[in-house]
């Protein structure tokens, strides 16, 4: 123990000295001027900028430019999506046979837990932050985020958070299984999560806590940016729909994530310092579920509102029509934001809580279907009689609407107490929420990536590969998750590593068949994502350069938004011969003497 402490002390000392050495070097460039934030400027605002950014890896480690940070978020989210996706494939392969094909029960539980947390916290939230960071300032005509440094801090908290959440997987082999991956499920229900002695659970909780701090910092930044950094021409009446959804989402984060953080600290204290927040003699185990879902349900809308904004932004562009009922789409966004805090106990209908409370939560849960349907009808009406252009981003938007309808309608059934009592612990719930998180949120993320690909890479993706990606994703998603809905009706309980149960509980043959179907669907989905990765990487490196600032021909319909106008300016700035007025001060066009 003493030797370990000495080694750790040495390591930490070396780290600190390294940081100090690096800082003294870095501080020498002084290429930046102090930020004029808070009105407390002590530096010389007119100081000449020697260089815009350092080169190489240092640029990415030190950047506070919203576009760079957006790209960092994007790369991070795609890597997390790959990790979470491989975990999902392991789960699906395991369930091909009733006895379980490849994993032990403990490994299955670990992977199930990490798959959920990875997809929600390390892919979902960051991919939205990626779009928001890159495009919100461009869409509202801001120079940058309101707090560029806090923006960078919010991102850099995430890599340590991911390492902590996955820590058990790395540490189990080197610590002889003293520290194992958490097996608490992403919901971390007490008393299970308090009683698991494994320190990997503490590390996972710390990672989640850190990711929550990052999300909160980001949310504060977006609220400040959208309120205070808008261009003079952008007002509340003409603010774009994506910014509206990010604003609402940020407000939800502001109320939800600090609560998760506090609940996690309470859980950590229960685990390590013998407090009794969630013990029977203290607050009781059900307190955790209330606190967790008071965060957890708004989290669903934190994840789905911005993708809805993306679809509301992109879908009209390829329908040749403005978004139908723009105002009502905004109102429904706000309504969902408010209602989302009043539905949390619909996750707890089967816990034995007071039936009168249950009924009120059922009512609010059913009510939230109304603003959701308003959006859906508005998307459909936007396309109605429109001049549809089935580009890859448009296909993903239509896929979003289709999957969202199935995910949403199954959700309405689950909001009903008697139905939920039967289906709650079955695969029906898994199918329902995967239609939303993969079929809707994932699809909208892909739509955003393809739609803005020319802006953030300066190149065009390969259209055929894009379409292959869509069709494999659409078919794979629907086979996988529809099979899960059927499994739920058959009575297959969720979270199980194996299903060799008595035939009286569920018809085993059919259950096995639907599990195999789901796995086939997952394989199709997986192949689709290979197209995606190949397309993005190759096109980014070698794709044809975009010459036109309006690659989607939006100007004809009068729908060229600010971000593409900005892109046009970039292209022109790159080639000053097109517009001599863009030459640097004192610059002259070369005279042709011949």
């Amino acid at each position: 123990m003493v030797a370990g402490d000495i080694v750790l002390t040495g390591l930490m000392a070396v780290l600190l000295v390294g940081v100090a050495a690096l800082l003294t070097r870095v501080e020498n460039w002084r290429s930046y001027t102090p930020l004029a934030g808070g009105g407390a400027v002590t530096g010389d605002e007119t100081a000449v900028i020697n260089r815009e950014k350092p080169a190489g890896i240092i640029r990415w480690l030190t950047t506070v430019d919203h576009k760079d940070i957006g790209l960092l978020y994007g790369v991070y989210a795609v890597i997390a999506f790959a990790v979470g996706g491989i975990m999902a494939m392991l789960i699906r392969l395991q369930l091909v046979t009733p006895a379980g094909a490849i994993l032990g029960n403990n490994a299955y539980n670990s992977i199930l837990t990490s798959h959920g947390i990875t997809m929600l916290f390390l892919f979902g939230t960051p991919i939205i932050a990626a779009f928001a960071n890159y495009f919100i300032p461009l869409l509202i005509g801001a120079d940058d985020m309101a707090f560029p440094r806090i923006n960078a801090i919010a991102f850099w908290i995430l890599p340590p958070a991911a390492l902590l959440i996955w820590a058990g997987f790395f540490l189990a082999p080197v610590t002889e299984n003293m520290i194992e991956p958490a097996r608490t499920a992403w919901t971390m229900y007490t008393p299970l999560s308090v009683e698991q002695q494994n320190p990997g659970v503490d590390l996972m909780l710390l990672g989640l806590h850190l990711s929550g701090i990052g999300a909160t910092m980001g949310a504060i930044n977006f609220i400040a940016t959208i309120f205070t950094e808008r261009d003079g021409e952008v007002n509340w009446a003409n603010l774009d729909i994506f910014s509206w959804t990010i604003l609402t989402q940020s407000a939800l984060i502001l109320f939800a994530f600090p609560l998760l953080g506090s609940a996690i600290v309470m859980l950590l204290l229960d685990r390590n310092l013998s407090t009794t927040f969630f013990a029977v003699e203290g607050g009781g185990p059900l307190l955790w579920q209330h606190l967790f879902w008071f965060f957890g349900h708004p989290e669903v809308y934190i994840l789905v509102l911005p993708p809805m904004g993306l679809v509301s932004l992109i879908l009209p562009k390829f329908s040749g029509r403005k978004l139908f009922g723009f105002k009502f789409v905004v109102y429904s966004t706000l309504a969902i934001g408010v209602l989302s805090f009043g539905v949390w106990a619909h996750h707890m209908f089967s816990t034995g809580m007071d039936p009168r409370l249950r009924a009120s939560f059922m009512a609010v849960s059913l009510a939230i279907a109304i603003p959701s349907a308003v959006k859906t009808f508005n998307w459909i009406t936007t396309m109605w009689n429109g001049r549809l252009r089935l580009t890859t981003p448009m296909l993903f938007c239509i896929g979003f609407v289709s999957n969202f309808i199935i995910g949403g309608v199954t959700g309405v059934f689950l909001a009903s107490i008697p139905v939920d009592m039967i289906l709650h612990d079955t695969y029906y719930v898994v199918g329902h929420f995967h239609y939303i998180v993969m079929g809707a949120i994932g699809f909208a993320a892909f739509a955003g990536i393809y739609y803005w690909f020319p802006v953030f890479t300066g190149r065009m993706y390969q259209r055929t590969l894009g379409k292959a990606h869509f069709w494999f994703s659409m078919v794979g998603t629907n086979i996988t998750f529809f099979a899960m809905l059927a499994l739920g009706y058959l009575g297959m309980p969720r979270r199980y590593a194996t299903y060799q149960f008595d035939g009286a509980i569920a018809p085993l043959t059919q259950v096995a068949t639907f599990h195999q179907l789901a796995t086939v669907g997952a394989l199709i989905l997986f192949i689709g994502q290979l197209f995606f990765v190949w397309n993005i990487v190759q096109s980014w490196l070698e794709g044809p350069k975009v010459e036109d600032g309006d690659p989607w021909n939006l100007e004809d319909d009068g729908m060229l938004d600010r971000e593409f106008q900005w892109f046009e300016e970039q292209l022109e700035a790159d080639s000053p011969e097109k517009d001599p007025s863009l030459l640097a001060d004192g610059g002259q066009e070369e005279q042709d003497d011949s």
Partner: protein
């Protein structure tokens, strides 16, 4: 595309501090919660130092040292308050470091605070005498 032709040209586009604020926060949390004494102390020092650095860089304060000193004082006050509230007075002794789960963690926080006060204090004095 040009390296950075955007509107943000006129604004700072690089800062070394955010990375270290985040790293410091992560190490502090791991150190304090998991109970790894050296990680807690060094993590908190990195966190406090980076806060002082980033505030100075962005122009909220003129010099980093008083901030470092201030963060140190805050940590010691927090540690002392928790100790008085949760640890029996008779147990508060150096010889007990490493025994109680809470007490050892509080000592780590206080130690980091003390180091920051020392660093901030010495640097302030050196800066004044040099000037």
């Amino acid at each position: 595309m040009a390296e950075e032709p955007g509107l943000s040209d006129q604004y700072p586009t690089a800062s070394p501090w955010p990375l270290f604020v985040a790293l410091g926060l992560a190490l502090s949390e791991i150190g304090v919660f998991v109970g790894l004494f050296p990680v807690a102390v060094f993590g908190l020092i990195l966190f406090g130092g980076s806060i002082a650095g980033i505030l100075t860089e962005s122009g909220y304060v003129e010099r980093p040292w008083p901030t470092l000193l201030g963060v140190g004082v805050v940590l010691i006050v927090i540690a002392a308050a928790f100790a008085l509230w949760q640890v029996p007075v008779t147990d508060i002794a150096l010889s007990n470091v490493g025994t109680g789960p809470l007490f050892t963690r509080l000592v780590a926080v206080a130690a980091a605070g003390a180091v920051m006060i020392a660093m901030g204090g010495v640097a302030s004095v050196m800066e004044q005498t040099a000037a």
